[in-house]
């Protein structure tokens, strides 16, 4: 209502004071306003009459004098009200000038760079974080392997550069899987970031993809991400992942995690079949010695599915596997 009146007044531009006056006379009890309008008072031409004996039955003068209570005004404009008991008018705000008043004293040459620095410093700073989420040794059916997953971000609150890497392998053999992503990340809401960039697979086959997706914090504190990839060869892949930190104590945290990979077509060179190609469920129990450094133990079950599983079997591999992990989560 007030906002509506305000807009109307702004439109009326030059007629604003007259309109304000008019609005005020529309009040049910204009008594004090007639003697001293807010406009006049603002100009310092007069002051709203000071307090008299209050007429509030809930707060008799004796009590008020002792400071036990303050009489409440009976309506929007109480003839006895004063100071903060008075309702505010609806004068329009003045237009905003530039915040350069100090230039008059110190000169704009001295002020401008400091003013810019002040603004940059208060909300415009850049930060970074390098998070090595997974750095672990894996034991699966007699074979010992390793796995890593990490990401770093660099930038401000809204725009960031994100670098991700993940991979795994077995000792004594070549790296099985390794990939790196470079993404531009932009905050699109309080919890989610939109990302786009490049994914480069190094193993098992060198391949380049355009990458895009979203990641963020879903209701119930689930960290979720969904990314799509289109390779230079036209292959389309997708990946969904979610994790949750269950705090057992302030420092002991159980993290279940799930990841699903999809493909729109077979990618024989990578041993990927179309459809849901693989799923993985992990459980890691970490102890945060400090927030930045947490050793963990874990168990992981992964399964290649559908045609991907067929490809694996054809290559003499077991499409499913369970492994135990010991590792460390670290960030700085």
């Amino acid at each position: 209502m007030i906002r509506f009146a305000l807009t109307a007044m702004l439109l009326a531009a030059g007629a604003a004071p007259a309109l304000a006056q008019h609005e005020h006379h529309a009040d049910p009890d204009p008594a004090p306003a007639m003697q001293c309008t807010p406009e006049h008072a603002t100009m310092g031409h007069c002051a709203i009459p000071p307090e008299e004996a209050p007429a509030d039955p809930a707060c008799p003068p004796e009590h008020a004098a002792m400071g036990h209570c303050t009489p409440s005004p009976a309506g929007p404009v109480d003839p006895q009200a004063s100071g903060t008991a008075l309702p505010a008018g609806d004068a329009p705000p003045p237009p905003a000038p530039r915040a350069n008043y100090a230039d008059r004293i110190w000169g704009s040459e001295a002020m401008a760079p400091v003013r810019d620095a002040l603004r940059r410093e208060h909300g415009g700073a850049s930060f970074s974080q390098i998070m090595i989420d997974i750095a672990e040794l894996q034991v699966r059916q007699g074979r010992e392997g390793y796995r890593w997953e990490g990401e770093g971000w660099f930038g401000g609150d809204i725009n960031r550069l994100v670098i991700k890497t993940e991979g795994e392998g077995s000792f004594g053999e070549a790296i099985e899987d390794a990939e790196v992503q470079a993404l531009y990340s932009r905050a699109i809401g309080p919890y989610f970031n939109l990302q786009g960039g490049v994914r480069q697979d190094i193993e098992p086959a060198s391949r380049t993809y355009a990458a895009f997706g979203v990641e963020g914090l879903a209701p119930y504190w689930f960290e979720v991400e969904a990314h799509g990839f289109v390779s230079t060869g036209g292959d389309v892949l997708a990946r969904l992942a979610a994790s949750y930190d269950q705090r057992i104590t302030q420092r002991l945290i159980l993290q279940p995690r799930a990841e699903f990979n999809f493909a729109a077509q077979d990618v024989r060179a990578s041993g990927i079949g179309s459809g849901l190609s693989d799923a993985e469920f992990d459980l890691r129990l970490r102890y945060e010695i400090v927030r930045e450094f947490a050793p963990y133990i874990g168990i992981s079950h992964s399964a290649k599915l559908g045609r991907t599983a067929d490809f694996a079997r054809a290559a003499g591999e077991d499409p499913t596997g369970t492994s135990f992990m010991v590792g460390v989560r670290a960030w700085f």
Binding site: N100, R120, Q246, R247
Partner: protein, 607 residues
């Protein structure tokens, strides 16, 4: 209350009797104190020409040496003691390799002497001296601190006491200045970086499966409900006792800083919260505390057992210890992750029993801005005599709501009462369109209520009298009692996950225009807290009158703490020409963007 004891006569008597208090006149009032192990007299500077030197130094807290930025070699800096009506020239030397500054918090002065680099002046360059000069127009307890970078967190602050030109309205036999603050061995830039990387980095009091199995904290249902909203009820303080040591006049709890008194004396305590991030709950078990001034200006005496002091606020209090024993001064951090401790005692070397820290509070629905229907209805009913009977008002249980609150609340409540209790936590339709829809706005309080009648988080169930803003009534009639010509609504917005803070959803780095006022204009400013954390909002260069139902005897303050999910309203007269800083006094909230420039221009001038 009547404080008419002649202080000098009493001290002379004490000297003649040869008690330990006999030493008192040999020290400045602020140094009439000691600690059991290290008695370090904190310096005092006064007069018309004062020299202050900002420098790196080492300090010792609880026996551990740490790096700090101090003034004239101490943390806190020296007490600046001035007299109303004098002029002062302050020669401030910056020996650092970076820009520095001093802002005189709460002082009424020309804007270009206010000490905010980039708003009031260019700051003090490395290895140079800046001279401030201004008349002292007021009396009371204030403080000063750096407004450059995050230096304030490193110790760059100190107290100011201005004695009135005439008789002091508060008479006491002796006084102690109590500067509360927080110190971390981490560099403040590291603290901010950690917060950006992980909003809950310093919170080691989160809810866990272990406490759930023990049946503590929220029920499973509540946890699910809060989890659905991605809200953490344990998020009471951003930076906690996990890194902070809480200080009294620069001393940690183990230092046992001791303030002396003689039994039967009226002792005036001048509290300053010079913390970077800590809201303190202050009490002295065994003693009543009578608040006599708030933010430097006299209020009608209110006797309580405990009060909350937000960052940058000051309170003057009277205590009357009658017994020959030691008392503990306890200032708990609002999240109860630690406390500042000192001792009041008749002699140095005594130790009082310190109560153990109380359980940390949990944020509730009201802290999320859901008001509560009961409270909202009571507010709406304020015209009816039974809503706030004289008996209740006299006991300080309630105060009639101010008329504008009534109107605004009415509107908001009815809008939402009509909807099927949807309570979306990010409904932009309930806020003015000045609030920008940005990632900075994690939540919007769907039904915020005025919380100036409430004592602050964790203090509603402590079982004794706690100060609330509505208890504060100015002794003097307000200098300007005109009705505000307009009302301005500002929203305090934030995002704990990304650690972003702003007014109206726009960080200071993003805003284009200052908040404009015309010289002499009287404006009502309503602050709506859309976050689950309290924000002590400070307006430079002005005092404002809190709209808390006290008409033309509204308490006048320079900093108001807006409770989580609540509102606070003030009227002020834009009588100080120039550009002024306006910000949340939580240092990292300000630094993350919860800051704006307020400009007061002559009528008719468009710069």
């Amino acid at each position: 209350m009547n404080f008419t004891v002649d202080r000098r006569r009493l001290l002379r008597t004490a000297a003649l009797t040869g008690s330990s208090v006999a030493l008192a006149p040999l020290f400045p009032a602020w140094a009439q104190s000691g600690t059991s192990g290290l008695v370090r007299a904190l310096p005092e500077v006064s007069g018309e020409d004062i020299r202050l030197r900002i420098a790196h130094q080492m300090i010792t807290i609880d026996g551990r040496a740490s790096h700090a930025i101090g003034i004239n070699g101490t943390v806190p800096g020296p007490l600046i003691r001035l007299k109303e009506g004098q002029n002062v020239r302050l020669y401030v030397e910056n020996t650092l390799d970076e820009d520095s500054s001093i802002h005189w918090h709460g002082l009424i002065l020309p804007f270009h002497m206010d000490g905010v680099p980039g708003i009031s002046y260019p700051g003090i360059k490395p290895r140079s001296t800046f001279t401030y000069e201004f008349p002292i127009l007021q009396a009371g307890t204030y403080w000063y601190h750096s407004h450059s970078g995050l230096q304030e967190q490193m110790g760059h602050y100190g107290p100011i006491v201005i004695d009135p030109a005439g008789t002091d309205p508060v008479q006491a036999d002796r006084e102690h200045v109590i500067v509360l603050s927080d110190y971390s061995p981490l560099h403040p830039h590291t603290i901010l970086k950690k917060l950006k990387q992980m909003g809950g980095y310093f919170n080691f009091q989160k809810q866990t499966l272990a406490d759930q199995l023990r049946g503590q904290n929220q029920s499973a249902g509540e946890r699910a409900e809060w989890g659905a909203m991605r809200m953490d009820p344990t998020d009471i303080a951003d930076v906690t006792g996990s890194t902070y040591t809480y200080l009294v006049n620069g001393h940690g709890p183990k230092d046992n800083w001791t303030a002396l008194f003689a039994p039967g004396e009226k002792v005036r305590l001048r509290f300053v919260n010079a913390s970077a991030m800590t809201t303190f709950n202050v009490r002295i078990p065994g003693l009543k505390i009578t608040i006599v001034q708030a933010d430097g200006l006299p209020v009608r005496p209110v006797t309580i057992d405990e009060f909350q002091i937000a960052v940058a606020e000051t309170y003057d209090a009277i205590i009357e210890p009658a017994d020959d024993r030691a008392y503990a001064l306890v200032a708990e951090s609002v999240d109860r992750s630690g406390m500042a401790v000192a001792t009041f005692a008749p002699r140095v070397g005594m130790v009082a029993e310190v109560p153990s820290i109380r359980k940390r509070p949990l944020a509730d629905m009201k802290d999320m801005g859901m008001g509560d229907m009961g409270g909202a209805m009571a507010g709406m009913d304020h015209g009816a005599p039974d809503a706030c009977t004289p008996e209740h008002a006299a006991m300080g249980h309630c105060a009639p709501a101010a008329p504008m609150d009534h109107g605004a609340m009415d509107h908001a409540t009815m809008d939402h009462g009509a909807a099927p209790m949807d309570h979306s936590m990010r409904d932009f339709s309930v806020v003015p369109d000045t609030v920008k829809k940005t990632p900075t706005v994690q939540t919007i309080s769907p039904m915020p209520v005025d919380r100036t009648g409430e004592p602050g988080q964790g203090l509603d169930t402590v079982g004794h009298d706690v100060l609330v803003y509505r208890d504060l009534v100015a002794v003097d009639r307000n200098p300007d009692v005109r009705a505000p010509s307009r009302e301005l609504e500002l929203h305090l917005t934030g995002n704990m996950e990304r650690y972003m803070w702003a007014f109206d959803g726009e960080k200071f780095s993003e805003v284009k225009d200052p908040i404009p006022f015309i010289e002499g204009e009287r404006v009502r400013v309503k602050l709506v807290n859309d976050t689950m954390m309290a924000h002590p909002i400070h307006l430079h260069g002005h005092f404002f009158e809190l709209v808390t139902g006290h008409g033309d005897h509204a308490p006048r303050k320079h900093t108001v703490n807006v409770q989580p999910g609540g509102t606070a309203t003030f009227d002020f007269t834009a009588d100080a020409l120039g550009d002024w800083a306006f910000h949340c006094h939580m240092l990292y909230h300000m630094h993350a963007g919860m800051m704006q420039t307020v400009t007061v221009r002559p009528r008719g001038e468009q710069a």
